[in-house]
């Protein structure tokens, strides 16, 4: 959905690169030759040595008990967390009551008028249609609950993000200190840190909002900093020469100049907060996410879709409206804010007088039944016994036996120190020694936490899913880059897949692939594919036209152009696609714990369901480490892109 900035291409001389890579490998090999025999002699066996683990079960259980016992009496809760929690509840309630008071007509009118003001008539019509569709699907009240939650979460994220970004934008030292923090926040799969938030704030809206802020604030911070740093120095100098103070300079020049980045940050934050709205349903956030989640419980894909579609619609509308605001083109001949507000109030009052504040009960459309019929048909006819190619269940079985099992067994067979070495080598080849160090430390932390085996199990699922995603994603991306028509046809499909809550995929994949790791992988592929396709297509399209032209003039065929010019030149975007693919796949493979994926995802779900901090938090921490490691191993040296691009 978001625009993506791919760093300018730098074509290094390959030979130098290669020799540097060889040097790194040589150094690592030397270190390995010294350390490996020593490690192998001290701690034989393939898995992480027992002596090097720290057991956190006891202290974590004690901590959890302490929190529960003191939550009602300790000053820390009474005078700090309690206030935060109350403030969130009051704010969400305030927004929710306002939305309800405006009624369906008022809300629709206000959003359409806002869209009109910011983006023109077509956008306004689209917005109104989207809101009405939410009502027609019978989801008006949940939509308003989600919207209320979103408004508060986004405001809080923007506030936190802008403050962090301001700090990072004005001070180099803070920028350096914040960068790894923001990096880490963005790599964390949200599912992993729901548990600690729940423990402190309890189930419900406050916990959901705070978890969302952790997840959605980083892009705002990053883009704010970027905007402040990118301000035109000449303008700044001019302002300075006028004798403006530091604060005046900031308020009158730097912040207005960064408007575009700030609005892009807002856009990104909204998108991420929405994707979190559903995951937060697991901890009782209510709203649309809860409907999706409840529909899953009765294996009702149709109902899940009916609740998922409003989320997609909200995402598309909010994306387009904030993007239009970011364009900064002031349109003539639209209405001003006072008129828009006046019209809204009039509409709201009119519906109130007519007594039609709630969505009219009769105006709804049952989407669930036809969808369920379609799913039933699919599972009845595709699951097994398809002639020649075999049913989807057979594929899943083969995939598990031939791909997932060997990869997992291979990883678990490798001695632990060789896994560390492998991680170091990969991360160092593609990045700097710092990234390599982070990756190795993250991997080692997994061992220390005592979850080496399940983590490698999760890793094997991630690797398999990423491989499938990349094959499909690169192929589709290349097709989209070479044909405008394909790209246009793909765009809405990608939009939907990217914003549809991951939970919606979980039941269809079980119906098709049975219970196990295969459906988890399938869901992850579906979710990660759009980002990979987008980045690949964009990267290929940005390849220097001159280079392509010269290749063409030399008589290169289409295939030669692709393999020898476009792909090598787009190397950085392809690497970025790999990186994004890995991060997104990890996020879903974990949710795959809910369909039999097992390993870390199951442990996190277990921790949440049983209130077992020891299991849940350790697994969550391992996921975070795994995410960090995977990110660093696939991170091109100076990447500056955002998650969920």
């Amino acid at each position: 959905m978001a625009t993506l900035s791919i760093p300018a291409l730098r074509t290094g001389t390959p030979r130098v690169l290669r020799s540097r890579a060889a040097g790194k490998l040589l150094l690592l090999a030397l270190a390995a030759a010294v350390l490996a025999p020593w490690a192998a002699a001290h701690w034989p066996g393939a898995t992480w040595p027992h002596q090097l683990t720290v057991h956190l079960d006891k202290p974590l259980a004690t901590a959890s008990d302490w929190v529960i016992d003191n939550r009602d009496s300790h000053p820390l809760f009474l005078y700090f967390f309690g206030y935060i929690s109350n403030a969130v509840i009051l704010a969400v309630r305030g927004v929710y009551l306002t939305l309800l008071a405006a009624g369906w007509a008022g809300v629709t009118a206000l959003s359409a008028l806002t869209a009109w003001r910011l983006g023109g008539v077509r956008l306004a019509a689209g917005t109104a249609a989207a809101f009405l569709a939410c009502g027609v699907l019978g989801m008006w009240v949940p939509t308003m609950q989600t919207l209320a939650l979103m408004v508060v979460a986004v405001l809080a994220s923007v506030l936190v993000g802008a403050l962090l970004g301001l700090a990072a934008g004005l001070s180099d030292r803070l920028d350096r200190a914040l960068r790894p923090v923001l990096d880490t926040m963005q790599v964390l799969p949200a599912f992993a840190y729901l548990l600690p938030v729940v423990l402190v704030f309890g189930i419900g809206v406050p916990a959901a909002v705070l978890a969302t802020v952790v997840y959605a604030a980083p892009p705002m911070a990053r883009l704010t900093a970027l905007g402040l740093r990118g301000a035109d120095p000449e303008v700044l100098e001019a302002v300075e020469s006028l004798g403006a103070t530091r604060r005046q300079r900031l308020l009158t020049a730097r912040i207005p100049l960064a408007r575009k980045e700030l609005l892009l940050g807002l856009n990104q934050t909204i998108m991420m907060a929405l994707s979190m709205a559903v995951i937060a349903a697991v901890i009782g956030a209510g709203g649309l996410g809860d409907r999706v989640y409840q529909a899953l419980a009765s294996v009702d894909v149709g109902a899940a879709l009916a609740a998922g579609i409003p989320i997609v619609l909200l995402a598309v509308v909010l994306d387009r409206v904030t993007a239009a605001a970011g364009d900064g083109v002031t349109r003539t001949r639209t209405i001003g804010w006072p008129y828009a507000l006046a019209v809204t109030v009039a509409v709201a009052l009119a519906t109130r007088l007519l007594g039609a504040l709630d969505w009219p009960a009769g105006w709804s459309l049952d989407l669930a039944e036809p969808v369920n019929r379609a799913v039933d048909w699919m599972t009845a006819h595709l699951y097994s016994g398809v002639p020649v190619i075999g049913g989807t269940a057979d594929w899943a079985g083969h995939f598990t036996t031939w791909v997932l099992d060997p990869v997992r067994d291979g990883l678990q067979w490798l001695p632990w120190w060789s896994v560390l070495l492998l991680v170091a080598a990969l991360a160092w080849l593609i990045g700097t020694w710092r990234t390599a160090l982070t990756a190795v430390l993250a991997m080692a932390a997994i061992g220390v936490l005592g979850v080496w085996e399940p983590s490698l199990d999760t890793l094997s699922q991630v690797l398999a899913a990423v491989a499938v995603t990349l094959v499909l994603g690169f192929a589709t991306g290349i097709a989209a880059a070479r044909s405008d028509r394909v790209e246009r046809a793909l765009r809405p499909v990608l939009d939907v897949f990217q914003t549809m809550p991951q939970f919606v995929y979980l039941i269809p994949v079980v119906a098709l692939f049975g219970v196990g790791r295969a459906p988890a992988v399938a869901a992850a592929v579906v979710y990660a594919l759009p980002a990979v396709v987008r980045i690949t297509a964009q990267g290929l399209r940005q390849v220097d036209q001159a280079a392509l032209e010269s290749a063409r003039s030399l008589g290169a065929t289409g295939r030669q152009q692709l393999w020898q010019v476009q792909l090598p030149l787009a190397r950085r975007s392809l690497l970025l696609a790999v990186n994004q693919g890995v991060v997104l796949v990890l996020a879903v493979v974990i949710i795959g714990g809910l369909v039999g994926g097992g390993a870390l995802g199951y442990d996190v779900a277990f921790g949440l369901a049983q209130g077992d901090l020891a299991t849940g938090l350790v697994a969550g921490a391992a996921i975070v480490c795994l995410g960090l490691m995977l990110d660093r191993v696939t991170q091109p040296t100076d990447r500056r892109a955002k998650k969920g691009a």
């Binding site: 939550r71 009602d72 809760f77 009474l78 005078y79 967390f81 309690g82 929690s85 109350n86 509840i89 009051l90 969400v92 309630r93 009551l97 309800l100 209320a148 729940v198 309890g202 189930i203 419900g204 809206v205 349903a281 901890i283 009782g284 209510g286 809860d290 409840q294 899953l296 419980a297 009765s298 294996v299 009702d300 109902a303 039944e369 097994s384 269940a393 079985g397 598990t400 099992d405 979980l506 039941i507 079980v510 119906a511 049975g514 219970v515 196990g516 295969a518 795959g592 714990g593 809910l594 369909v595 039999g596 097992g598 995802g601 199951y602 779900a605 277990f606 949440l608 369901a609 049983q610």
Partner: protein
Amino acid sequence: MRRRTTALVGSLVLLTATGCGAADMTKQASPFANAGGAKSVTLSVQSWVGAQSNVAVAQYLLEHELGYRVDTVQVDEVPAWDALSQGRVDALLEDWGHPDQEKRYVTDKKTISRGGDLGVTGHIGWFVPTYLAKQHPDITDWRNLNKYASLFRTAESGGKGQLMDGSPSYVTNDKALVKNLKLDYQVVFAGSEAAQITQMKQFAKEKKPFLTYWYSPQWLFRKVPMTEVKLPAYKEGCDADPAKVACAYPHTPLQKYLNADFARTGGRAAAFLKKFRWTTEDQNEVSLMIAEQKLDPQEAAKKWVDSHPAVWKKWLS
């Protein structure tokens, strides 16, 4: 500068003196509750369909007979206890037995109070489909399970037989049971009830053998008839040590729990929820409508309410 400091200190003092009381974490209802002046009740729903049925019927009657607005939140049992104690939800209608939580919140902290029996008795066990039990009558004894392990092999079970377990929120000793009874089986966790049901239906459609952790009351029995596998008999306390369990699961009369404040001040809604009590058949009837006929839970509840006035009239008196 000085003036600003004074003002700051002054306002701080003022804040501490007046508004800055303790923020009680136990008194925080959902922000969506009581909206628009309506009296409202927040019910927790658990992920299985039986629990959805309880809530659907309670919600329907609360809304249509007593004039409340009902919010529902999907939470697993253990977090639901926590939410109950904090007043985030008002009631938990189907609890399968959590002695630790009961001691902590009901006995010690007194933030949750008992709501009485639901009227349904729950039982967990291992089940095979009845078509399989007819083929191999001796398969329903745990001592013969090893003989049949190869029947239950899947891609996930790594050469052993697959014992399918469900959601992480369920009470289960299956890993310990497999180990302590020396069974050649691998416990595979489906991860959610939805996944487990979907898989069982797929197996049943093809008459494939499967062995699963399952429980009654459950609507799926009517769609996929299943026979319980006998495990060593349950004796009081035989499941005390989770690592040494080698016996079957008990029969549990399912319980309701209410937030203590709500139980005292909840008026007709609280009285109604305390009296809510129905049978396994009633629950299954609603569950089947929700899960199999894919009725909206509220429509299913309406159908049941319309046809069983004698049962629910008692709850309102």
